[in-house]
Chain length 389, copies 4
């Protein structure tokens, strides 16, 4: 029998705080109980703060892919011209969803180790002036890069284009605000930097996105409907169906803990941990997948498996020998890239993970001075201070 | 501030056992961790035992309405002739879903205080020999009735009709087996008699249902897809997306507790509690909504609010004064019928709920000898024995 | 295998709230961590409010008998004249402890179905003017009676007598204040009306009790020392040894919940539940052990087992058949008296317990109209209102 | 407000597994419930396996100091000749306890950075042939040394001397068996290597120790009585008073997890972690307090604070900046020595702690190449394998 793992440095589900885990074990209230209605409303309000938005926030009761699908079916009708910005696997996924509902998709593709340039977006719009909807991924986790959402937002400012942004991996770990990036539907996920269990997808929806949905008679009476949540929750504090009460408890607590520490502090923490991790990789002779640190995400570091070490062997070895779980990459990067997630962003987790990554690489024959990576990370962590949180 | 309620006698979410609540608080494993893969497989195997089936069981990661929608979109194509058996609100809901995907719906409707008669099904089939799909609800909770699924199954035996059965409210509380009732897709819900939190929908799918889905190219790459779960989980032990790990823990534990007590014991327990509850209603001068005890469900008792007492007032009073939560009815019965859920089926909960229902009715001016209902329930509980579980 | 019980109507350990149970599962802090020091101090402050006292409160890290022993060894020296008020088993226990440390014990004994009369105390003092210490039990649970502490306090007012009061069963369920009763050392227990797990004993100590201990060089450097806690905790916020961190979490939460509901509300609730319980016993033809309702405690009702029913059989039957746990009595009352504990004082628990007590009595051949007891309890519960808490 | 700490590398209370924490939150059973009696008996049986003994095991319901006091008052009478082996603070503590009960104490003292030599014991016995009781501490945590219990046992083999051994810090982390070391009363603590919360003290008692207690009429009817537990639990499966149910749950689970992993595996793990830790200290230029690795304990490493760094500053800095908790030393070593606890013995915790210890030392001005300590620890961890557990 395998031993239970000790730490996860993954792209999600991530390790949760004791308080969040315990919240999931509270007795299940009837969803129309006054206590639950208050708690649910407070959860949405907390998420609004984390989204840094005045837009409505609704919570779809499923994994983030549910909300991405809901966003696409709610905004895109057959024949709609759609610009899909693709810098990785999830960008491509949104294009697939858009095509599935009949959208006429124009792809702006860059290599998965780079990011979208706003000027390319401007060029694409000039070529296709009838674009109605744009899709973009903030952090495309398989490649560990972060697209410059505010600059991309500037590129479409003044147009009527509706933007769907996948901020699943980034919300709570990278700075983001729908208004600051001109995003109409921003889709997050509970099990990433928000620090809650998987199974919920918070979505921030702009007023003009709601208007567009009503106008085009977007789906109602479906699990993939966003309008159902506007009709029910936003307009009448009703639910389309019983929400996942236990998960809402956990998300409520996770959002509360995040805000108690301060969103700014959390973001600073992610940046510091990611910076230390990148320093460690350099010292260990490991190349990052992104072409530069400037475009590398703060929520996940994508690393090229070194010559002679199979990524699958490395991860299995880390899990079995040392109880440390890292993430594989996906798609074309599977087998070539492994990933170190940075939530919950804390030096103890990072140092433990880096140390045993070193140990595992050595076990598998990679030449490395033990402590090289950890030493570089420690050297980079000069400013850390738990008391600031 | 309201005090936290003490007991729920609702139609769901129901009160969970301490073990199930605690299971939801276990550390979240990466979904491809070997420990989680084993636990997930074991959860499916336990559900198969509870479904009393050799059919595949997959677990959709959302409320039961997700799985009902998935069943409908997976089996019904535009133009398909569909027979919808309607004895209540949820029967009507399936007809709505069937129409939404282009099904040509034939309704067999009976009043909501009665149940479907198999001969009526036979007659409907003779009138519409080209029926491809039939939908039926086992226990239509708003009306508290239980349709005779095995007899209805007999009525279509030998045909090619594919049957979708909503057993959301009944699984684990009323006897059911897909094979014994000729059911091809049976949809359950975690938060009812299974005794787990809301947010998961176990589905039992027959081989010929899978074949039909493949043949008609049912949806893939969607949150509402059943085939995604066949392709991923059943065929390769992969997931279409991160499952709700914490909820799976809870469902795994709930199913384990149920089987440890014994499915037969649980069903007997529900029957005994429902019987005692019906006896109490009689002694309290309250009429059941179903026309006879023979068609009344064992998982919920639907009761007509007495003359002079508003159902909404009664339920609010019970909640605020005594911390007891009963369920309202829905649709046309809203305001006229209230419901006493029977999970977890145990005399302590029933007696407490009945006693404070008596107290509340008296508080609201209803003439009643205190103890009349509880006394009748106690008299009916002769055979109860916790040690048998 | 026995099924887990459903409800406890015992004299302790009592059923705990979900929040208190969860508190015990919080990660264990180092006892000198600043977070724990704050939480510990806050726990003591909350206990002071519940003791309604300005006296110091220390928490001995063991069952209440530890603190009773500590009180006796701390105040009584060999040769000291001690007046022990004995109306039941625990009163006698204090006399035994007093003798064990060399006290010259004078017993004031009344039958266990009655209580101490203040005039008897006055008379005893006149007979033994050199009494230095008096011991008294507030609620002697085996007999379900409550001694009139304030009146007993009046009887010794103006003397130098130091009083040790056992309020283990009563604190949080019966009105009590050391100052109002002239009590110098009041010993409570976590697992009774305070609603926390067993293993902690809060003690309120008057200034003159501390002075007496210092003067007589009461034990130090011992698990039974009270002075160790004064020297360490009160004077320097240090601990004599590692406290039971998990239990402190639970007691902190339990005390917080109690104060959030309001001590007055809790006491009123106990009174209402006890009153309803006594009404039920009357209607069921069962005699209380105390000679009158006026001296019956609000935290436990002691009932004479009826002719023909063995108390042991009754309790075993209730536990095995219905998952309901009542308490046996002890000492000379064992086998003749059973007891219904009233914490946590709530109608749902009471009604469930009474109903299944009725059912069990009938199962065992006692003649009873089902519902008689519950009906009387319901009739008596007119004023209950959860919203007031 | 301080942030909750991330990891404890302390001498106790130690970080607990999620399963142990959750066990403490299970509903509190009545202590004579059949389910609890079984669980309690199983806990004792598990502890016997961990003690590697055929002796009786009883569990005192308090911190380990309670059981040390109970051992002393149970075996030592006024005038008894007692040999106290003192290699550190806790050894001295036992001498104090022995004197407090009137024992005539002969001290065998060695410096706190060394251990007792069996030949010195032989010499002491020759000088004092009337020794009745010997006391010894296995691991005297303030100094991080481990006394050679089996060899010390050999030195008194064949005598009638009764030995009290304090194995509080060592049980579950260092090899120990009462029989192999001639120990009559071995006192452990729940919150150290056993991995449970503080508040329980398992004690293994030899038959001849019980005989001696009966003969000398050791205390009964006291919280410090061992005989009470023999009379009640061992002889009649009764309790002297309500045990700490929640803590027993946790200890039951912790002992179960330990045995599931295997006692041998656990001990090997502690040895490996301690070895790696000592290697790290060497590479960091830090001196251990024990004079040689051969006498250094596997459960805690005592380290001399380097020139120019105050131990108190270092520990406060680690806690506040990085959420890492180490232990101070005590007594004469306070301020000069800090300690790294090794439970739960796992590389992730060790590496994280060492890394942030490095970082903290650098922050405070100590000259150190970042990664030096972690690198040495990693190099030493070649044989680690979670899968072996």
């Amino acid at each position: 029998m395998a031993r239970w793992p000790r730490i996860h440095l993954t792209t999600g589900p991530v390790d949760l705080s004791p308080g969040v885990l315990q919240a999931a074990a509270k007795p299940v209230l009837y969803h129309y109980d006054p206590l639950f209605l208050d708690l649910y409303a407070e959860t949405c309000a907390r998420l609004q703060q984390i989204f840094t938005t005045g837009h409505d926030v609704v919570i779809l009761q499923g994994e983030a892919v549910l909300a991405l699908e809901a966003a696409v079916v709610s905004l895109i009708s057959p024949g709609d011209q759609v610009l899909c910005l693709i810098s990785g696997l999830y960008g491509r996924g949104l294009a697939t969803l858009a095509r599935a509902v009949g959208g006429v998709v124009h792809e702006l593709v860059v290599p998965s180790n780079s990011v979208i340039h706003p000027d390319d977006v401007r060029r694409a719009l000039r070529r296709h002036p009838d674009i109605r909807v744009m899709t973009v991924v903030h952090v495309d986790t398989p490649s560990g890069t972060v697209n410059p959402l505010p600059q991309i937002g500037d590129a479409i400012a003044g147009t009527e284009i509706l933007t769907i942004a996948d901020v699943v991996a980034s919300l709570g770990g990278e700075p983001f605000s729908p208004e600051a990036s001109g995003v109409d539907i921003a889709v997050a996920g509970s099990q990433k930097c928000l620090g809650a269990p998987p199974g919920l997808a918070p979505v921030a929806v702009s007023p003009r996105a709601w208007q567009a949905m009503v106008r085009k008679e977007a789906p109602r009476g479906s699990y993939c409907s966003l309008l159902d949540w506007k009709d029910a929750w936003l307009d009448h504090h009703r639910f389309p169906y019983a929400p996942s009460v236990s998960l809402i408890y956990a998300l409520h607590e996770a959002a509360g803990e995040l805000l108690a520490e301060g969103l700014e502090n959390r973001l600073t923490g992610f940046a510091a941990i990611a910076n230390a991790c990148r320093a460690a990789m350099g010292s260990m002779g490991l190349a990052l997948w992104p072409t530069s640190n400037a475009i590398a995400s703060n929520v996940v570091t994508a690393v090229c498996a070194p010559e002679g070490v199979l990524e699958a062997d490395l991860l299995a070895h880390l899990r079995r020998r040392y109880g440390v779980v890292l993430s594989r990459s996906e798609g074309e990067l599977a087998g070539r890239v492994f990933r170190i997630g940075h939530a919950p962003a804390h030096p103890t987790t990072l140092i433990a993970g880096l140390g045993l990554l070193e140990r595992s690489l050595i076990d598998l024959g990679y030449a490395l001075t033990p402590g090289a990576g950890v030493g570089a990370a420690l050297a980079a962590l000069t400013g850390w201070n738990d008391s600031a949180f």
